[in-house]
C-alpha cells in the first residue's frame, strides 16, 4: 500500500519534470529576448541531453555494481552494441549507399523507419509516426541485442568474482569494439568509420511546412526514454527480485542458504543492466548523431563508473544527481578553465587547454578520499523528508 503510494508519487514527479523540460526548451520560441542560456544552442540543452543519456547508463551500471554487487566494467561495450544496432536498423535505405560508400553499400538493406513509412506514408503525420515507431522499436531492439550478448558472455564470466569479473567484462568490451572496427565487417558496421543519417533527437522537433520549428522536443525525448527506463529499474529494485539482488550483494553464502539461486539472479541483473546500457548506447548515438566504435572506449566506462561512485554506490537518485553535476561540470561550468584569460596584460596562471581535466582529477580525488560514500551513500533522496526540513519544526514536548 505504502509502496503503491510512493510509486504514484514518483510517477507524478516524473510527469512534472518532463513537462518542465518541454517548457524550458520552448521558452525561447514563445518569449523572444530571453537570456542566451535558454536559446536552443545554449550549452544548457547539450548538458541536459547528455546527462539524460548518461544517467540511464549510470543507473544501469549501479543496478549491477551497487545493487547486485557485481563489479562489471563492460558498460561501454554494451552501449556500443546498442548504438550500432540502433544505427544500422534506422539509417534510411536511401542514405545507405552514401554512408557505406567505402564498402559499396550496406549488406543490410533494410530500415525500420522506411518499413513504417511504407505503411503510413512518407510525409506529414505518417512520416512522423513511422519515424517515432521505427526509432522506438530500434531502441528496444538495441537493448535486446545488448542483453543477448550479455547473456552469452555472462555464462562463463559470471562465475568470476570481484576484480576478475571486472577484468573479464572490460576485456569483452574492448574485444567488441575491436570487432566492430574490423574492415571485414565493413558492409555491416562501416568499419572504423561512423554511421550517420539515422533519426537523432533534433528529428523529433515538430517543424512547420517551411522547416521552422514549431515545438522543440529534442531535449524532451532523451528525458522521456531515460525516465521511463530508470522508473522500470527502480520498480525492479523495489520488487522481490531487487531484494534478492541486494541480498546477494550483502552476503552470497547467506543468500544461497535462503534458496536464492546465485547464478540465475546474477544473470538476470547482468542482462537487465546490459539491456538498459544498450538503450543508453542508442540514445548516445542519437545525441552525437553518429555511431562510431571509437567513442565507446573504456574511458567511457570509467567516466560512468566515476559518476556512480560520486553519486553513491547503491543509490539511484544519487546516480542521476551525480550525472547531471558531472556532465554540467565537464561540458559547461568548468569549460572556462580551458581558455586562457588575460586581465589587462596579466595572463592568469594555469588556465590553458587541458587544465579542466587537472581540476577534475583533484575534485575526484577529494571525493574518493573524503566522501567515499558519494553524495547519497546507499540512500535515496526522500522528498518528503526534504520538504519537512524547510517547514518550521513543531515544538517538542518534553
Amino acid at each position: 500500500m505504502k509502496q503503491k503510494k510512493k510509486t504514484f508519487q514518483i510517477f507524478i514527479g516524473i510527469t512534472i519534470l518532463l513537462l518542465f523540460v518541454i517548457l524550458l526548451e520552448n521558452l525561447s520560441t514563445f518569449i523572444p529576448g530571453l537570456p542566451q542560456v535558454l536559446s536552443p544552442t545554449s550549452p544548457l540543452f547539450t548538458v541536459l541531453k547528455k546527462a539524460a543519456v548518461y544517467s540511464l547508463v549510470a543507473v544501469s551500471m549501479n543496478l549491477l555494481n551497487g545493487f547486485t554487487g557485481l563489479f562489471s566494467l563492460g558498460q561501454a561495450g554494451f552501449m556500443l552494441l546498442g548504438a550500432y544496432t540502433y544505427a544500422i536498423l534506422t539509417v534510411p535505405t536511401a542514405m545507405k549507399d552514401q554512408v557505406y560508400y567505402l564498402f559499396g553499400g550496406c549488406a543490410f538493406d533494410f530500415s525500420l523507419v522506411d518499413m513504417f513509412k511504407g505503411m503510413f506514408g512518407e510525409s506529414g503525420f505518417g512520416g512522423a509516426i513511422s519515424m517515432i515507431l521505427g526509432s522506438f522499436i530500434a531502441l528496444i531492439l538495441a537493448g535486446c541485442v545488448a542483453g543477448l550478448f550479455s547473456y552469452l558472455i555472462g555464462i562463463p564470466v559470471l562465475r568470476l568474482k570481484s576484480d576478475y569479473l571486472a577484468i573479464a567484462t572490460l576485456g569483452f568490451a574492448e574485444i567488441i569494439r575491436a570487432i566492430f572496427q574490423w574492415q571485414k565487417f565493413g558492409p555491416v558496421t562501416n568499419g572504423a568509420n561512423m554511421i550517420k543519417g539515422f533519426p537523432t533527437f533534433s528529428d523529433f522537433n515538430i517543424t512547420g511546412p517551411s522547416g521552422n520549428v514549431i515545438l522543440r522536443l529534442s531535449t524532451f525525448v532523451p528525458f522521456l526514454v531515460s525516465a521511463v527506463c530508470i522508473l522500470l529499474i527502480v520498480l525492479l529494485i523495489n520488487s522481490s527480485y531487487g531484494r534478492a539482488f541486494k541480498s546477494i550483494r550483502d552476503d552470497e553464502v547467506a543468500a544461497e542458504a535462503m534458496g536464492i539461486s546465485l547464478f540465475k539472479h546474477k544473470m538476470l541483473s547482468f542482462v537487465i543492466s546490459s539491456f538498459f546500457a544498450g538503450i543508453g548506447g542508442a540514445l548516445f548515438a542519437m545525441y552525437v548523431a553518429n555511431a562510431q566504435a571509437k567513442a565507446f572506449t573504456s574511458v567511457m566506462t570509467y567516466e560512468i563508473l566515476l559518476i556512480v561512485v560520486i553519486g553513491g554506490i547503491g543509490s539511484v537518485s544519487g546516480s542521476v544527481l551525480a550525472t547531471f553535476l558531472y556532465v554540467a561540470c565537464s561540458e559547461w561550468w568548468l569549460r572556462f578553465l580551458d581558455t586562457e584569460v588575460y586581465l589587462g596584460s596579466f595572463k592568469v596562471p594555469l588556465l590553458r587547454n587541458g587544465f579542466r581535466m587537472v581540476v577534475f582529477s583533484v575534485v575526484i580525488m577529494v571525493i574518493v578520499l573524503f566522501f567515499s560514500q558519494g553524495i547519497m551513500g546507499n540512500h535515496e533522496i526522500n522528498f518528503g523528508a526534504l520538504l519537512k526540513k524547510f517547514q518550521p519544526k513543531p515544538e517538542r514536548k518534553s
Binding site: S240, R243, A244, K246, S247, R249, D250, D251, V253, A254, A255, E256, A257, M258, G259, I260, S261, G314, N378
Partner: protein, 239 residues
Amino acid sequence: MSEQVLKIDNLKVRYGGIEAVRGISFDVKAGEIVTLIGANGAGKSSTLRTISGLVKPAEGSIIFEGEDITAKDPTAIVSKGLMMVPEGRRIFPNLTVLENLKIGAYLRKDDLEKDIEMVYGYFPRLRERSWQEGGTLSGGEQQMLAVGRALMGRPKLLMMDEPSLGLAPIVVQGIFEIIRQINDAGTTVLLIEQNANMALHVADRAYVIENGMIAMEGTGKELLEDEKVRAAYLGSSSS
C-alpha cells in the same frame, strides 16, 4: 516412534585432499531437537553445509522425508522445507530487518503477513527495529534476526549452525529458550553447537562428532551424565 524426517547415511565430504567428514550416519525424527556437538574442525559445519546443498558430498546419501536430496542445489533443498541459520549469523547488513525477513521467504509466493507477525511474536525486539538496517543490530539481535529469517521459510526442519557463537551467556539462554518454543510449535530442529552444555540440555538426542566421525550418541540427558563427554566438552572433569 515418529517418522524419520532426515536420514544421513555414510556421508563423506572432502575439501581437495582433506576429508572433513568421514562417514557420518544419523537421523532426525519429526518433532525432535537433535544436536551435533564436537570441537572445532570436527566436521559439524561441513555436515550441515552439505545437507543444505552449499557443499557437494563425496559419498553417502541424504534423505529428506523419503526423498533423496543428495547434491541437489540449495534452491531445491530450501523449497522442500529445509532452512538453515548459517554460522556467524550472516544477516544482510544493508537490508532492513523487515527486508531480511522477507528474503527468508523468498521462494514462497503466498502472503507473508502472518509469518512476519509470528517472528515478531518470538522476537518483539525485531518489531521495534523493523526499519533499521541489519548491520546496526547488536550480536544477539542479529542472531534473533537470523533465526527469524529462517523461520520465514516455514521450515519443516530448521538447521542451526552454532547459534551461541560470540554471544553473551544471558543472550545465549534467550536464544535457546526460543529454540525450545519453536520446537514446541512443531518445527523439527537440527542444532550444531560447541556449547555442549546448553545444547545437551535442550536436545532430545545428541551425537558427538570427533574427527569427522560419530564418536558417541544418546539422549541429551545420557550424554550430559557421561564421564567422557563431561571431561571433553563440559569442562567439569573430576581432576
